[in-house]
């Protein structure tokens, strides 16, 4: 019995050893890929974003890059094409609510190394944060209507259009529901 138990433990240890070797091999493969290629990090592929100015990051051992951003996967409608010497890029302007494609090219002497192409979509977001005031923390202009209770009914008692990050003064006297929706 003791011998059988020892054998089982030995087999388990062997399997763990094998597993860790496989993981090591995979990680080495990734490392080699990183060393010789351009690996895109953020935004992830097929991401749905609500920030209008996402930061793009990649990893690579090279120094010189070109960054491309387009509205179509064939890159016929390129909106950004710029040269960089760092492995991240922050857009100079806000994006529209659209689907975008991007990739990076690295340069090593005469070699040109192209990354894969990734896709992401920018979605509208309507969001409120209520502290001392009612703040539009979404990414679109919001029509904020105010409902207060009169008797048994909730009645619209006010409205305002808030730009992004704009704050509306709160009615401190009454219980109120502040409802935000996309303007226009």
């Amino acid at each position: 019995m003791k011998l059988k138990k020892k054998k089982r433990i030995k087999d388990l240890v062997f399997q763990l050893e094998l597993f860790s070797l496989v993981v090591l091999a995979l990680l080495l493969y990734v490392l080699i890929g990183i060393v010789n290629g351009v690996i895109l990090i953020t935004p992830p592929d097929n991401a749905i974003l609500t920030e209008l100015n996402p930061e793009f990051e990649w990893i690579s051992r090279y120094q010189d890059y070109s960054f491309y951003l387009a509205k179509d996967k064939n890159f016929t409608e390129v909106i950004i094409e710029t040269n960089l010497s760092q492995s991240k890029y922050e857009l100079p302007t806000d994006l529209d609510f659209y689907e975008y494609y991007w990739y990076v090219v690295a340069y090593d002497n005469k070699r040109v190394i192209k990354s894969s192409v990734r896709k992401f979509r920018v979605e509208t977001l309507v969001a409120l944060e209520i502290r001392e005031g009612v703040k539009n923390v979404g990414n679109v202009e919001a029509n904020v209507s105010v409902r207060t209770k009169q008797g048994d009914n909730w009645v619209n008692t006010g409205a305002a259009v808030l730009d992004v990050n704009e704050i509306l003064r709160k009615d401190r006297e009454r219980v109120a529901v502040y409802i935000a929706e996309q303007n226009e």
Binding site: V126, L162, I179
Partner: protein, 429 residues
């Protein structure tokens, strides 16, 4: 260790439970489809728990066509033999979603089924609301402000022939920079449009024409959308409230949009806040210089300042009287605060500059000593700052590789030692 962890969890939960911040969001804010008789489908929306707190959210609909909407939720049933069946449960109304502190967002699916006889052309709107349910304690309802957001579901019934609708979006621009007008256009008729072009007239608050610009020209297929763009250089134009009148010409027809916009930057600005002739324990006089950067009158301006100690607790506050500011005016607003219970130290200030029905928030820092209060700007934004990990991804991968290598070396050494011990025992025998 477990006790410490549990204590911290309880402290965190206590802070969450006593939080009075209401925060909720929905994405996307709007979904638009073109009507087809008998069309069915479903869309996903995300309800956001911006503040990562415990909350319940009520989902309900409004609009003439609200009865076409149902919400579905997966119902998981585990039968005999461990077989899992997933079916959809439909809800017509009164859906409630629960969030806890780990839920950043949750998905909600809504289904729709259109009738065969929706005839009236134009946009038919159904709103799907997500409203935070106020938390009650000890049997009483919590009073205060409650947040709600609406997802707009637009069903467009096309118009006969050619029909176009336009919007007008105007970018915020600093003085001296051109103003960009973006005009999203959508063809809402059954026929294609060959030529679409816009003309913008810009008027100041005295109704003087201060600029005219034209957009680019495009064509637009039926039910398609696109954008026109125009740039206005605004040279020599004073900041203020402007009105833009847009006329979009398309194949002999026109569409009109008007919009007022703020030309120039922030309406009001806080220039400085000083305290003169101060002694701790007495009434402090705060002089706050505010400037109206516009050419228009701004009414009901006042400043409210809140002092927070190093623990984030409010320790004091004061408010100035209300004043009106003529265009371009600079004035000191005076506020008084009793410092009898205040201590020497550094305080964070939240300064709220109110005007009309809005306010601007600024963050300052104050150093209170026996004979002075020194105030400086610490940050000019109330936005939450996201904390990013300093650990680079490639460093993380390298670290993982090192762990795996170390584990393999460890196993190797372990087996070698065991083998040697066995050999040693065998030789001894």
């Amino acid at each position: 260790m477990n006790k410490i962890l549990k204590t911290w969890m309880l402290v965190l939960m206590f802070l969450v439970v006593t939080s009075t911040v209401s925060a909720i969001g929905v994405s996307p804010a709007r979904k638009t489809i073109f009507y087809e008789p008998g069309m069915q489908g479903s869309f996903d929306i995300r309800i956001l728990n911006n503040e990562f707190k415990d909350m319940k959210v009520k989902i309900y609909t409004e609009g003439d066509l609200k009865d076409i909407i149902t919400f579905s939720k997966d119902k998981v049933e585990i039968g005999r033999g461990g077989k899992v069946e997933i079916s959809k449960v439909l809800y017509f109304d009164d859906v409630e979603m629960g969030f806890d502190i780990t839920d950043e967002s949750k998905k909600l699916t809504y289904n729709f089924e259109l009738s065969n006889n929706l005839e009236k052309p134009g946009i038919h709107e159904i709103k799907i609301f997500a409203q935070e349910v106020p938390r009650s304690g000890d049997g009483e309802t919590v009073v205060g402000a409650v947040g709600a957001v609406a997802h707009q579901f637009h069903i467009i019934v096309p118009y006969p022939g050619k029909y176009l609708e336009a919007e007008l979006r105007i970018s915020e621009t600093a003085l001296g920079e051109p103003v960009t007008f973006v005009i999203p256009v959508r063809s809402m008729g059954y026929d294609d449009i060959n030529s679409v072009k816009g003309v913008l007239e810009i008027f100041d608050s005295s109704n003087n024409l201060v600029g005219t610009v034209e957009t680019n020209e495009i064509s637009l297929k039926s039910k398609a959308k696109s954008e026109l763009v125009a740039l206005w250089d605004a040279i020599g134009v004073e900041p203020g409230i402007m009105k833009a009148k847009l006329t979009v010409h398309y194949d002999g027809k026109t569409a009109n949009v008007e919009k007022t916009f703020n030309f120039g930057q922030v309406l009001l600005d806080l220039i400085y806040m000083v305290v003169r002739d101060f002694r701790l324990g007495e009434i402090a006089k705060f002089d706050t210089l505010v400037e109206n950067k516009w050419s228009e009158l701004v009414e009901n301006v006042y400043v409210e300042t809140i002092f927070f100690d190093k623990f984030g607790d409010e320790v004091n506050r004061f408010k100035t009287p209300t004043e009106n500011f003529e265009g371009g005016a600079r004035k000191e607003l005076v506020g008084y605060m009793d410092t009898i219970d205040m201590e020497i130290g550094v305080y964070d200030l939240k300064v709220l500059l109110f005007y009309e029905d809005k306010f601007i928030e600024k963050h300052l820092r104050a150093l209170v000593s026996l004979n002075s209060i020194e105030i400086g700007f610490f940050g000019a934004t109330a936005q939450a700052v996201s904390v990013q990990s300093g650990l680079k991804k490639n460093t993380l991968i390298m670290f993982l590789i090192l762990i795996i290598i170390a584990a393999n070396i460890g196993w190797y050494i372990y087996f070698r030692r065991r083998h040697k011990v066995k050999e040693g025992k065998t030789i001894k025998k």
